[in-house]
């Protein structure tokens, strides 16, 4: 690791062990509040997508797939802007990165949908969904970070 204190989605400088518990909780009130509001918005958007495009039993879960891929692309764009380009208020990052995007994307539904597909006797669909989500989500965040860096470098020239 080149950077011993990496940027996190939550805050510019990550906590690093060992830290007393008082430091862990100090000043977290406003952050918890904006993460809660963002999380409610993100979860609602995901629920809305599930109502618009309901999952068919035994089929590839396209709605959750796209929710996760879109969320990963957007976090890539957002993190490049917030760490380099845009001097935003300190609560913007926990609100949007941790709250909205964290609430919008989901790992638990991904895992349980794979379990359900296997249980329904759809091992190939389960395996395709497992691999496609992982590969596409990682490709989306990489593409978003790379593109946003390139565009912002051109702008600042």
């Amino acid at each position: 690791m080149t950077d011993p204190r990496p940027e996190t989605v939550d805050e510019p400088v990550a906590l690093r062990a060992p830290v007393p518990w008082s430091t862990v909780w100090r000043g977290q009130g406003p952050v918890v509040a904006v993460v809660a509001v963002g999380g409610a918005a993100g979860a609602s958007a995901r629920y809305g997508a599930a109502l618009l495009w309901p999952a068919q039993p035994g089929a590839f879960p396209w709605t959750t797939f796209w929710v996760n891929v879109v969320g990963c692309f957007v976090i890539g764009v957002f993190m490049v802007l917030i760490t380099g380009v845009w001097a935003a208020h300190r609560l913007v990052r926990p609100f949007f990165g941790t709250g909205v995007l964290g609430g919008f994307t989901t790992f638990s539904t991904y895992a349980v949908d794979i379990q359900r597909l296997l249980d329904e006797g759809r091992p190939l669909t389960a395996l395709a969904y497992l691999a496609a989500t992982l590969v596409t989500a990682l490709a989306a965040v990489w593409a978003a970070v790379t593109l946003t860096r390139r565009v912002s470098a051109r702008w600042s020239r």
Binding site: V35, A43, A111, I114
Partner: protein, 124 residues
Amino acid sequence: MNWLLVIVGGMVGAPLRHLTDRAVRSRSDATFPWGTFTVNVVGCLILGTLTGAATAGAASSHLQLLLGTGLCGALSTYSTFSYETLRLAEDGARFHAAVNAVASVVAGLGAAFAGVAAADALWA
């Protein structure tokens, strides 16, 4: 009513993820994103249990919206998971990045199966 349940679940799940991440970070090696790993595995375990309970008729659709769509959905995250994996790879910790991706999927799936099995044993 349904929207309210999802909103309340999301309002609890997301801050729970943030605080768990801080707590885990303050007690663990900074090179591996243990905080996100923890919330994702716990989210899979709870959602697996809830899904098993629902299949057995022990969890209402309201409870599934509150705890499943709202709480577990917001507690677990794919965006932070993939961003942290990319950061590990960019920082030269490619092995850590690959381990994070594979271990998260394997542990999450294991937790989902364990949750369903536990619910089957309890309610079926």
